[in-house]
């Protein structure tokens, strides 16, 4: 991570009123969009705890939708997003729940379109976010880097194969995090890159190790 900077103190420029409940919500929507893909037709969004209780007043619902539609946290359209043209092609509904096993600002995106998928994430403060689950797989993603996300069976030598493919395509690995509960179980791998990587590389990894899930998730620019 970058050292704390003056720019972190005097920004972001954002739509109010709350960095965690508004700006964070937009960023959650954006990362869900980056993971799912831009073509979003139908989604159910479940808000938990503080997000469910005070979310409406903080524009959390508007922020999440605006993010899913690709708007940045400083777009003035967020306030009126429900009346915008973009909403025409998006079918959505919200549910509000209490579940104190979850983070106070937790959200589930349940995509019910051609690309069904469930993404669980949370807004952890100051606009920072974390994706913690995709479908049934535990992951950990913060949107700070372009990342390759892989869930795979715990196969011997898979990581070596993956990294050599990444190198072949000229990408630089910034960090590599592997999470596996017990031996022989699924492992989730988040590989953060310093630069970009082509779709071909992702295809090649897919062929080579046939993972349960693989996604190239672009970093959040804001």
């Amino acid at each position: 991570m970058n050292e704390a900077s003056i720019l972190d103190i005097i920004s972001p420029v954002m739509v109010g009123p709350s960095s965690s409940h508004t700006a964070g919500a937009v960023r959650l929507g954006l990362i869900a969009r980056n993971i799912h893909g831009e073509n979003i037709k139908k989604v159910k969004i479940i808000l938990y705890n503080s997000y469910a209780q005070t979310g409406e007043g903080h524009g959390t619902d508007k922020g999440l939708i605006a993010g899913l539609l690709g708007y940045k946290p400083d777009s003035t359209i967020i306030k009126d997003i429900f009346n915008s043209q973009d909403m025409v092609s998006l079918e959505y509904r919200f549910e509000f729940r209490e579940n104190f096993a979850k983070h106070p600002n937790a959200v589930d995106f349940i995509f019910e379109d051609d690309n069904p998928m469930t993404i669980s994430a949370q807004s952890i403060g100051g606009g920072e976010i974390k994706v913690c689950k995709i479908n049934e797989f535990d992951v950990s993603l913060d949107g700070k880097f372009n990342s390759i996300l892989i869930v795979m069976g715990d196969k011997l030598g898979a990581i070596a194969k993956i990294t050599s493919i990444i190198q072949k395509y000229g990408a630089n690995i910034a960090t590599l995090n592997c999470d596996r509960k017990t031996r022989g179980q699924n492992a989730s791998l988040v590989i953060s890159l310093d630069n970009e990587i082509s779709a071909d590389a992702i295809e090649e990894i897919k062929k080579e190790i046939s993972p349960h899930l693989i996604r190239y998730v672009k970093k959040l620019e804001y």
Partner: protein, 299 residues
């Protein structure tokens, strides 16, 4: 090496014979691996957003999201129309601009978090008002925002600017210290007086809790912004006269860290005590939940 304390900041300025803003912008260019000009351009972007938020807020009287505010800046402006501010034009502007910005934030307008969205009215109101009253050019305003920035940054190394971490002293309090530094610089104070202004401002808000009613960034937040901006102005007035904070600023930050740690979490953004649990707040809370429940039934 990033400058971590105000003592280091002062020493670096003396060693290199630079002003605070020069020291700060050199360091930032290094951190981000960009030129000083590029860094200043980014700061200018924030400054522009601040000006715009003030402009929008000054023209609006739309209710805020939580419906507890949004009309006060308009009231204040209206009052000043027939009753010129007895403390002068600078006071009037700071008061109106900080109200304007924080109301704009609470109605989902575009603002610059500085250091947070809840405290977004404090630094801009002081910088922009000074600029307008004394006809200060934009480059110098950028310098002042850089000074506010490094002040907040150094505080944040010990105390994160978040009500949940250390109460409102860390949000609006830090913002007040930042604004004081910027304002002192705009009055051409030297490094010692700039640091002293921050010290005086910060010292006087230690212990400020965070107890927002219904969890919204509205009560007490909106009206706290003008208070904290003018609080910064008082600190600068004293520093200009040569009044010195007996406790130096680095020590005050330590005290703020300790005070934040000792503060009950009920008073740190959880809305479980203080103003948030007053009789009036509870009545308001109940009224809103019923309404929400009702609209959920309707669906």
């Amino acid at each position: 090496m990033t400058i971590k304390t105000f003592e280091e900041l002062k020493e670096t300025c003396i060693k290199n014979n630079t002003e605070i803003w020069q020291t700060a912008q050199l360091q930032e260019a290094q951190i981000h691996d960009i030129t000083v000009e590029e860094f200043r351009a980014r700061v200018n972007k924030t400054l522009s957003a601040m000006k715009e938020a003030i402009k929008n807020g000054m023209e609006s009287s739309v209710l805020t999201n939580g419906k507890m505010g949004g009309f006060d800046c308009a009231k204040q402006k209206e009052y000043y129309k027939n009753n010129p501010c007895i403390y002068g034009k600078l006071y009037e502007k700071i008061l109106c601009y900080s109200l304007a910005t924080s109301e704009e934030n609470a109605r989902m307008g575009r603002i610059a978090a500085c250091p947070t969205a809840g405290a977004c009215g404090i630094v801009p109101s002081v910088i922009i008002s000074m600029g307008e009253i004394y006809n200060i050019d934009n480059e110098k305003l950028i310098n002042s925002l850089i000074i506010a920035g490094i002040t907040g940054q150094i505080i944040s190394f010990k105390v994160k600017p978040s009500g949940a971490t250390a109460g409102c002293q860390a949000e609006c309090g830090s913002a007040s210290a930042m604004a004081a530094a910027a304002m002192a610089y705009l009055f051409d104070c030297d490094t010692d007086k700039i640091l002293n202004s921050s010290a005086l401002a910060l010292k006087n808000i230690l212990g400020l809790t965070c107890d927002p009613v219904r969890g919204f960034v509205e009560v007490p937040c909106i009206k706290r912004n003008p208070f904290m901006a003018l609080h910064a102005a008082s600190a600068v007035e004293m520093a200009k006269a040569g009044i010195v904070s007996v406790i130096p600023i680095d020590d005050i930050v330590d005290a703020m860290e300790q005070t934040g740690a000792l503060m009950s979490s009920d008073l740190k953004e959880s809305s479980r005590a203080g103003l948030a649990k007053t009789k009036t707040a509870i009545v308001m809370e109940k009224a809103c939940f019923t309404k929400k429940y009702y609209s959920a039934l309707k669906e």
